[in-house]
């Protein structure tokens, strides 16, 4: 964006006739500038590894079923049928679909190729686990069976059938990773480089990648060959990486940006005063992960005790945290986030529950601590210094400083903050070298709750959580195997209650993300993540 000095601006304003002509020209191209914290890294669906940037990838690809602002419509699929048990789904593709080049047709073979490539046992694609949901998917990846035995079956050019391990739902087919098409003749010659630059991407979605400077900017332009091109209003979407926080704020104020990710309350207020619109949605769970085995045998003794963990959770003042250090986090009183989908509406409305108070309850905390000490036959002096692991960011360190003080004031427990660089932190966490670990759990995928809960099953056991419980495993397995959505959600609720009663983690709150934008924009929407596909602009 070239900018004039104040002087030339004034000069330009004097010649009023000229700008009008220019404006009329510009109005034909609808474009928007959106700030984003992270680079998409890759547009190869098999390799997606930047959760907060997944929305960009979704805009360039098409999936079997598309969630168009809350209703499931066919994307690549014209129609579909499912078996009674919900395990087998047959899709009929739209006729005459092409990739963005307008020539190469999209066929059922392309869907199969994309899935086979994703699960290639020799490649080690980041998202390979997505294929585990298919019948024999995990076995194929482990080299235990042939591709023909995997639950994907191309019936003809336009018909494809999927068989799953557990019942599937419409929402599962909106994932680009497993249910989008790739052109083999285009992808194969590129090998690992597919999806790393504009000329190395061939997709079939509403937009195409026109320019992409790593960690700097991405320019998406409308795909005129998209089957639903008439619903797409924006001609250009310019994504500016790093335009967040105070930088993004200044850019909004200087008119270098139209959408900026929500910041602190103060930042949001400044933009609201300028006439900007704010919207928010829940993006992640903020929690203190618990190592049930403890960093040392000593701390494991205490952390392995349910009443001790309860004492910790009651000692934490979640409202105070939200009011001071984690202002964009709503204090939690249960596990499930308010935006988690239920059968028809929201899960939390359908299954009301309050697991713990949002304010600290020092008396109850003390009570649980005494119970724990009694059970263990220990005194308060025996409790070791608790290790608080976190990533080396200001926000994390501040949050832990607050929690450290709460544990000290409400329980008399000493703790030490242990910030580390990202990979070293992950390494510490994965080897169980921590007591409590401050972290988030991103929600940007359908069924985020399921993913969260699965982490505590014995099957997923690593040194990370140090937790294993047969009763929990049984509850979880029953939930996943539920044939209907109603049953699955009801079963999830049972798992949630067990989860909270036994304090498997200390949940702090639900992180709220969102954007501030200039007036006049509409058509964006969000459930698990932001979606700018149908964005529109009309000057007010």
């Amino acid at each position: 964006m070239r900018r004039f000095t104040a002087l030339t601006m004034a000069a330009a304003l004097m010649i009023t006739a000229v700008p009008v002509v220019v404006m009329a020209d510009e109005a034909e191209v609808k474009s928007v500038r959106i700030g984003a914290p992270y680079d998409p890294v890759t547009m190869d669906y098999a390799e997606l590894n930047a959760d907060p940037a997944t929305w960009m990838d979704i805009m360039v690809g098409e999936t079997l079923i598309r969630n168009k602002q809350g209703t499931y419509i066919g994307g690549l699929a014209e129609s579909w049928e499912k078996s009674e048990d919900g395990m087998t789904w047959t899709f009929k593709l739209k006729e005459g679909l092409t990739y963005s080049d307008g020539e190469t047709p999209v066929t059922a073979e392309d869907l199969e190729y994309a899935a086979k490539r994703l699960m290639d046992p020799n490649a080690g694609h980041y998202q390979a686990e997505a294929g585990y949901s298919l019948l024999n998917g995990e076995q194929y990846y482990a080299g235990e069976c042939e591709w023909e035995e995997v639950g994907i079956n191309v019936i003809d050019d336009l018909t494809i059938e999927y068989t799953f391990k557990n019942p599937a739902y419409e929402s599962d087919f909106t994932s680009t990773t497993l249910f989008s098409a790739l052109e083999e003749a285009f992808v194969e010659p590129l090998g690992t480089e597919y999806g790393s630059a504009p000329e190395k991407i061939l997709t079939d979605g509403p937009f195409t990648v026109a320019e992409w400077y790593s960690d700097s900017s991405v320019k998406l332009v409308k795909n005129e060959n998209y089957w639903d091109a008439e619903s797409i209003m924006m001609d250009e979407i310019n994504i500016i990486i790093g335009a967040t926080g105070d930088t993004g704020l200044d850019m909004m104020l200087a008119d270098e940006l139209d959408f900026v990710p929500s910041g602190s309350d103060t930042q949001n207020q400044i933009l609201a005063d300028e006439g900007c619109v704010n919207f928010t949605f829940t993006t992640s769970y903020q929690c203190m992960n618990l190592n049930h085995k403890g960093k040392t045998e000593e701390s494991g003794l205490f952390l392995g005790n349910t009443n001790f963990r309860k004492a910790l959770t009651y000692a934490i003042d979640r409202e105070a945290l939200s009011a001071s250090v984690i202002t964009s986090v709503a204090p939690a009183n249960r596990l499930t986030a308010p935006t988690e989908a239920g059968v028809n509406g929201f899960f939390n409305d359908e299954y009301p529950y309050e697991a713990w108070p949002t304010k600290a309850d020092p008396e109850k905390a003390q009570e649980y601590l005494n119970l724990a000490l009694e059970e263990l036959g220990k005194t308060k002096e025996d409790i070791p210094v608790i290790d608080l692991l976190c990533y080396e960011s200001q926000g994390a360190i501040d949050t832990l400083a607050a929690i450290q003080d709460m544990l000290k004031t409400n329980l008399g427990i000493e703790s030490q903050i242990n910030p580390q660089t990202i990979q070293v932190m992950i390494s510490s966490a994965m080897s169980g070298d921590y007591d409590l670990w401050y972290g988030g759990n991103s929600m940007g995928v359908p069924d985020a709750l399921g993913g969260f809960l699965s982490g505590y099953t014995t099957a997923m056991q690593t040194a990370l959580r140090g937790y294993s419980n047969e009763e929990y495993d049984a509850l979880y397995d029953a939930a996943v195997a539920s044939p209907t959505l109603e049953e699955r959600k009801a079963n999830y609720f049972e798992v949630e209650k067990f989860f909270c009663d036994n304090v498997l983690i200390i949940l702090l709150g639900w992180s709220e993300g969102g954007y501030n934008h200039k007036p006049g924009y509409s058509g964006y929407w969000y459930d698990v993540d932001i979606d700018f596909t149908y964005l529109d602009y009309a000057a007010e």
């Binding site: 070239r2 980041y126 790393s196 200087a254």
Partner: protein, 304 residues
Amino acid sequence: MLKYISKKVLIALATVFVLATATFFLVKLIPGDPFLNDKIPVAVQDKQRAFYGLDKPLPQQYLTYMGNLLKGELGYSIKKTGRTVVDIIAEAFPVSAKLGLTSLVFAELIGLTFGILCAQFRGKFPDYFLMVLAVLGIALPSMVLGPILRLILGVKLRILPVTGWGDWDQMIMPAIVLGLGTIAGNTRSMRASMLAITTQDYIKTARAKGLPPIKVILKHQFKNSLVPIIPNLGVQIASVMMGSFVVESMFLIPGLGRYFVDSITNLDYPLIMGLTVFYGVFLVTMNLLVDVLYGLIDPRIRVK
């Protein structure tokens, strides 16, 4: 002469080789690896490691890497999926180099001038005034100074763009923020070094000869007082061209600076190695040039 130069080049290559080897093994000492992830099944992680050759024993990994390095191949970045290290450096380095050099040239000019002024007015107002400026310049972290400039010049006065890269006016603010430390440092060290020379006999002689003061300063004092500034000039040039993490992220400049931090915290081995070798070649070359420069500046110094 040819023998002399080829010897220097050989030594430089050996230095880079040692540097690459040391970095290779040091990085592997850091616990964890880039594929460790609590959300990805272990089976997938193992395949990823195998794909990048990280499942091989360390000596074998080292030999493979060095072999590729000799062929000029730096491999694929692990975190920037599908992009080669060469590609990343080729895209970002020109940006950082342009900004860094511009900023350095101005900072050196201003810093040296200030230093001379301070020395000339030793103990008087301009000396103290410039010292306070220098101290503020170095005590104000760029992390704060940048946003202040951005707010005043970009948002309130609207005379410069807030962020971005491409136009000359987008370079002004980052160049100022980047150069402030250099200005401050040079003001102070140039002052000290000028003062150390004012009492030398040859300066006294020059004055006694009746040369005008300005000529004495520029012709005799200036050149000789550069000696303490030059040793670190090589490092300064090399590092400033590699970009700055803070300044680049503050003004959204697509430079190399962030990769130096990100690659290490992410344990992106090929990228760490690529950047280190690239920087090493630069550093060693610059330092060799500096040694040559010494002799030119002060004939009494002969670096053998």
